[in-house]
Amino acid sequence: MSSILKKAAVVSIPNVRQALLRSNPVLANALLAKRAYNSKNGVEMTVRDALNSALEEEMTADEKVYLLGEEVGQYNGAYKVSKGLLDKFGPKRVIDTPITESGFCGLAVGSAFSGLKPVCEFMTWNFAMQAIDQIVNSAAKTHYMSGGNVNCPITFRGPNGAAAGVAAQHSQCFAAWYGSVPGLKVVSPWNSEDAKGLLKAAIRDPNPVVVLENELMYGISFPMSEAALSKDFVVEIGKAKIEKAGTDITIVAHSRSVGFALEAAQLLEKEGICSAEVINLRSIRPLDTETIINSVKKTNRLVTVEGGWPQYGVGSEICAQIMESEAFDHLDAPVVRVTGADVPTPYANNLEAYAFPDTEVIARVIKRTLNKKIGA
């Protein structure tokens, strides 16, 4: 990784970056992230290692926490998130399951009803559709429908959203799906601190929590604060983070889109066009509307960014909540959603690139929104 990162300086001309983004989005993102967050002397950690340390710390802290899923043990995880955990905790607590999502998810939920704190890994969230009944009907609802007699402290996790070149069935964002379900909490980390802090919070949470990771972020390094390296570090679920303060427009994003939103904001600031405030949602449910509302009251403009489909999506929900809040009266322009296109994800490189938001699209929409005025 370090040799790759050294090349970052070379990849500064926009069209070279664009070409790299097409040919190798993972690498391109690693470079972009590195450029944006080059800490001088702090510790850096990949999102993958941050997740791994969260699992290791929570399994060390609590014997009732165990990990199960496909290839989490001997294979070290399909994406190496669980690397080394089998060696450290043994097969009792790191359990390779058969390819049977509905079954092992149900089994994990049953064990949570009965005193354990499972971390149920889906190789990707796409495969969890086989098990969505157990997540929604068994995990999310049983506490309520039992009148509080049954508890379900479980964490469901895995990579969510589009990866690179894996086509329609492996490229979908489930934030809106799980975000609509009462009884679930849903988090969507962007960087390494988010990943570690939110996963640890999820494991400690007494409710079922869905952790939507992003495969394209696993290999990217981010600085970790002193506090984030501590085994006591958690990120509170339900609170968004203002990643960059600004005065002219608010951009709300989650997961990988946060990086693009920040880059667009920096680009426009450098060009002297605007000062954008970037909010990293971190939590899809509960949704921190307060932070968004306060920001909109200050900037009077709002753009949402996500990789998921437009209809009934996270951005749609934010629009509706803003409409229903006092922030509506503070808007100077209509809210705009930047989303994944309303299309099953295509395979070909150029078509896939056209399906998801990037820095250029976000910058374009921000400029357009700045030029609009309600009633004008």
């Binding site: 079954g103 049953g110 064990s111 005193g115 009907n137 506490h143 007494p206």
Partner: protein, 390 residues
């Protein structure tokens, strides 16, 4: 003229009740235990030995079985009446006819053992410690309900009973998970996951079998074969109706589920099997529901009235136990009548208590969506100004 199916039913009935039963009481008339010999047709095995046909059981336990079955039937009759009086909403699935399964299981288990089932759950809830009032109040949607009126007929739970699950088959992997937790925590106990002949074809049932065997979980899979999944006869839904053989690599037992003592003996065997570390076991309880699938089903379009009447007359689990108790002087007819009367009084009283309970407070609408004080400050109601802040 009887169809071949009816002839088979007649044979089953004959096996269960015409064969003489032998009971050996101990020398002293005060002896607390009796040995009862089950008919040799009570069990059929698949890749395992048959349980002993010799049941040693206390007189108190036998009387308790009788009382439980009678009370359970009364409770379900009361539910039927309340439903027809339009006091119970939605779905309601009664276990009338299937009482021997829940009762025979309970007498063979301890509080450490766990049970989970689907939506036909009133009888299990009662046997696992739920009071009749709390069950009926739940059906009525009252605050005294066992789930505070939030669950209804299909969602009832006690500390060692995990419902009460409405999605056919989903409870089976959940049960495997409860067994997984028992093994993980080192508890010497087993989990019994019940499902019907209809649910037996769900893919996740086989997924649960596979993991239970792979990981040698103390899981007992219990198919309550009442011959019909809703209105579809077993042979119209299942390519193999020998449900006790469908675990393939998991041994199984077929049990006369209309005989509470056979159920008791099989469940004791299954518990011993699993807790001693032999891994999972399948049980198929051959049983019969007298009523329809749910209250909206008269239960007569896919089977004949004669078939139902035949099962009631010849295979009824309460009548069967009653004959044994009387034949071997375990209690007198008067004592039995007193039990019947007490059950009726108890259920009637519970009906009144349940009816007297108020509807849940509206404040309860907002509770238990998440654990208390676990970081969810606000829940929205139907419109922006209808909401709850914790």
């Amino acid at each position: 003229m009887l169809s071949s199916q009816k002839i088979n039913l007649a044979k089953v009935a004959a096996k269960a009740f015409i064969t003489p039963l032998t009971v050996r009481t101990f020398a002293s008339s005060a002896a607390r235990s009796v040995n009862i010999n089950l008919h040799k047709g009570s069990f059929e095995s698949y890749n395992c030995d048959l349980p002993s046909l010799d049941v040693e059981i206390s007189k108190e336990e036998l009387v308790r079985m009788y009382r439980s079955m009678v009370t359970m039937r009364r409770m379900e009759m009361a539910s039927d009446g309340l439903y027809k009086a339009k006091l119970i909403r939605g779905f309601c699935h009664l276990c009338t006819g299937q009482e021997a399964v829940a009762v025979g299981m309970e007498t063979a288990l301890t509080a450490e053992d766990k049970i989970i089932t689907a939506y036909r759950c009133h009888g299990f809830t009662y046997m696992r410690g739920g009071s009749i009032t709390s069950i009926l109040a739940e059906l009525l949607g009252r605050k005294a309900g066992i789930s505070g009126g939030k669950g209804g007929s299909m969602h009832m739970f006690t500390p060692n009973f995990f419902g009460g699950n409405g999605i056919v088959g989903a409870q089976v992997p959940l049960g495997a998970g409860i067994a997984f937790a028992q093994k993980y925590l080192g508890h010497k106990a087993a989990t019994f996951s019940l499902y019907g002949d209809g649910a037996s074809n769900q893919g996740q049932v086989f997924e649960a079998y596979n993991m239970a065997k792979l990981w040698e979980l103390p899981a007992v899979f219990v198919c309550e074969n009442n011959r019909y999944g809703m209105g579809t006869a077993a042979n119209r839904s299942s390519a193999n109706t020998s449900y006790f053989k469908r675990g393939d690599y998991i041994p199984g037992l077929k049990v006369n589920g209309m005989d509470v003592l056979a159920v008791h003996q099989a469940v004791a065997y299954a518990k011993e099997w699993t807790v001693s570390g032999k891994g999972p076991l399948l049980l198929e309880m051959e049983t019969y529901r007298y009523g329809g699938h749910s209250m909206s089903d008269p239960g007569t379009t896919y089977r004949t009235r004669e078939e139902i009447q035949h099962m009631r007359s010849n295979n009824d689990p309460i009548t069967g136990l009653k004959q044994r108790l009387l034949e071997f002087n375990i209690i007198t007819e008067d004592e039995m009548k007193a039990i019947d009367k007490a059950a009726r009084v108890e259920v009637d009283q519970a009906v009144e208590e349940a009816k007297a309970s108020g509807e849940p407070d509206l404040s309860e609408f907002w509770t238990q969506i998440y654990q208390k004080d676990s970081g969810v400050p606000y829940v929205r109601g139907r419109e922006p100004e209808e909401f709850h802040r914790y």
